[in-house]
């Protein structure tokens, strides 16, 4: 019976990371209507950036804000130079474009870093807290904690700042927002910037949690998509709940059925949700844009 509590705790700790992982994807999808298939490779890019910082001998956690800013600039360029040019065309065009970027980034990383598994070892990697019979690995606890802080910051930004309100306005009603003097293209740029920034940022967490190679981007994108489908677009707390559901399924199926079946279970979950409730648990609408 104790193992159930341990698994629940594992799922809870994992869900913090998953929320940060999916929040950028959700933001970009909700505001610009784009499903960014390159999202996972941006996460891996972030992981390799943290790896470089780690190899240079600096503290990764201190440099995470810098990685976020770098990602923000990258996102601005990505939206302005590539995506904005295709906004009016067949929506599928952008899907293929982002996949092209996924191929480019993955192969670039493979050229530079080779396909070996890399990892970051934190100074307190092997320490764990013990509460009763439960084990709390410190690195996971740390990631969970920092995830909460960054999510809270994002929530505050979207809720109270002028830019954040403009982003939400465009996401709810692009035409209405335009009539109020908000420039959609600029909002698209900023939200993509934040999205890519968050992707790189969560890459840092990913590197702290487990080893990585350049070829994991596809699964990360699918996870982000899955969480957005479970949660629905337009709510950060909904995403947190969706992440918790996904991590519950992953942790429990990984333990009881074996690691090999974990991905099958999460994909079936995805198909089930798409069938039964495509707008998600907390979603405002099941919409099409573009």
């Amino acid at each position: 019976m104790e193992i159930v509590f341990q698994l629940l705790l594992d799922a809870l700790l994992l869900s913090g990371f998953y929320t940060v992982l999916s929040v950028g994807f959700s933001l970009m999808w909700g505001v610009t209507g784009i499903i960014n298939l390159a999202y996972g490779s941006f996460i891996i890019l972030g992981a390799y950036l943290s790896y470089m910082i780690y190899m240079a001998g600096f503290d990764v956690l201190l440099f995470l804000p810098l990685i976020f800013i770098l990602g923000f600039l990258l996102g601005l360029f990505f939206q302005a130079l590539f995506v904005n040019r295709l906004m009016g065309y067949e929506p599928f065009t952008i899907l293929v474009l982002t996949f092209g970027f996924d191929v480019v980034i993955t192969n670039l990383l493979n050229l530079i870093f080779k396909a070996d598994i890399r990892s970051i070892s934190l100074p307190f990697e092997n320490f764990s807290l013990f509460i009763a019979d439960l084990i709390l690995p410190l690195n996971r606890l740390l990631v969970f904690f920092f995830s909460l802080i960054s999510l809270f910051a994002l929530y505050t930004f979207l809720r109270y700042s002028w830019t954040g309100r403009a982003i939400r306005a465009v996401s709810l009603d692009p035409v209405g927002a335009q009539l109020c003097g908000i420039k959609p293209k600029r909002v698209f740029m900023i939200s993509t910037g934040i999205a890519i920034g968050l992707a790189l940022f969560s890459g840092g967490f990913y590197a702290m949690l487990q080893g990585f190679t350049p070829f994991e981007s596809g699964w990360l994108t699918i996870r982000a998509f899955l969480i957005c489908v479970i949660a629905g677009l337009g709510s950060v707390s909904g995403l947190a709940f969706g992440s918790f559901i996904l991590s519950l399924f992953e942790v429990f199926s990984g333990f009881y059925l074996g690691e090999d079946w974990k991905d099958v279970v999460s994909l079936m979950l995805l198909i089930a949700f798409l069938t039964i409730r495509p707008r998600g648990l907390f979603g405002i609408r099941y919409h099409e844009k573009g």
Binding site: I35, F82, R85, L86, Y89, E90, P91, F92, T93, L95, V96, L97, F99, G100, F101, D102, V103, V104, I105, T106, N107, L108, N110, L111, G218, I222, F225, L226, D260, W261, D263, V264, L267, M268, L270, I271, L274, T275, P278, Y286, E288
Partner: protein, 295 residues
């Protein structure tokens, strides 16, 4: 018959005699090109005529391929196993279509992709598919030629089907559903029926393609058959041929296969990167596809 059709007919007849003259390398390249265009034309039945992007349609390709491989390895005759491969994919699509057909655009695209990845994981974990080891089989003599002509026959069938749909009342009906479903429903067109049938026909042809592919490849495993790169190549071609859906896939498959081969043979280390850059640039500069017609 239009002039373009005559040229096409001539080219296809040329393809029928060509393999007897060229060396194995070029035969392999030609087969790869025809294989890619079979994939594209199958997907195009749903994508062009009904506007449904089955991004993970490769799921049916892989399913048919596995059915073929298992049957053929248990000494079922070649043609029968090929046919059963197609039929099994059709049945699979019949089972899954009530689930997938409720979805639209992006949701449909990603749900089919998830379905594809799901089958990939299953195939890697099950006994009957040989797990991660895959299935290899003994091939008869001239297997390359048999595969080539099977692919060619398949391509010809798909091409004629596409041309027929493009010019017939049936095709117009389907396009009407794509353009405005509500209006189509109001004039008494059963949109769901047309869509499901197109979906199943697509799955059937993908299953056949899968069977021929496994025969040609002589070895199958999950990561080859359900490779997401196949979906991407297909939809890259289909996006580029948006403005010329009948001949476009053929021309672009040819161009793309040659480009891929060139990158592969000349820049082995860089080919993945260059391929990605090529995809990005082509989509960026030709978002509507390339118009070949004057006007």
């Amino acid at each position: 018959m239009r002039k373009a059709d005559l040229i096409l007919l001539f080219l296809i007849l040329l393809l029928f005699v060509l393999p007897l003259q060229i060396n194995p390398y070029w035969l392999r390249l030609l087969t790869a090109f025809i294989f890619l265009s079979c994939l594209s034309y199958s997907h195009n039945l749903l994508f062009h005529f009904l506007g449904y992007p089955a991004f993970g349609g490769v799921a049916f390709f892989g399913f048919g391929a596995y059915t073929f491989s298992i049957l053929y390895n248990h000494s079922t005759p070649l043609l029968l196993s090929l046919l059963l491969g197609g039929v099994s994919s059709l049945i699979l699509s019949l089972l899954i279509s009530p689930i997938l057909m409720r979805l639209k655009s992006h949701y449909f695209a990603i749900a089919t992709l998830a379905f594809q990845l799901c089958l990939m994981e299953l195939a890697q974990n099950l006994e009957i598919t040989g797990g991660t080891k895959g299935i290899a089989f003994n091939l008869p003599e001239y297997s390359n030629l048999i595969a080539f002509y099977s692919f060619l026959t398949l391509l010809l069938t798909l091409l004629m089907l596409t041309l027929f749909l493009d010019r017939s009342r049936l095709g117009l009906t389907m396009k009407a559903i794509r353009e405005d479903e509500t209006t189509a429903l109001s004039v008494g067109i059963n949109a769901v029926l047309y869509r499901s049938i197109a979906f199943m026909v697509m799955a059937f042809f993908l299953g056949l393609t899968g069977g021929v592919f496994s025969f040609w490849n002589a070895y199958v495993d999950a990561s080859t058959l359900f490779n997401p790169m196949l979906s991407v190549k297909t939809f890259f071609i289909l996006t580029l041929s948006l403005s010329l859906p009948t001949y476009g896939p053929l021309l672009w498959s040819f161009f793309f296969e040659m480009l891929f081969e060139l990158l592969w043979s000349k820049f082995l280390m860089l080919h993945g990167l260059l391929l990605g850059i090529a995809i990005v640039l082509l989509i960026l500069f030709f978002p509507r596809g390339v118009v070949w017609k004057r006007s």
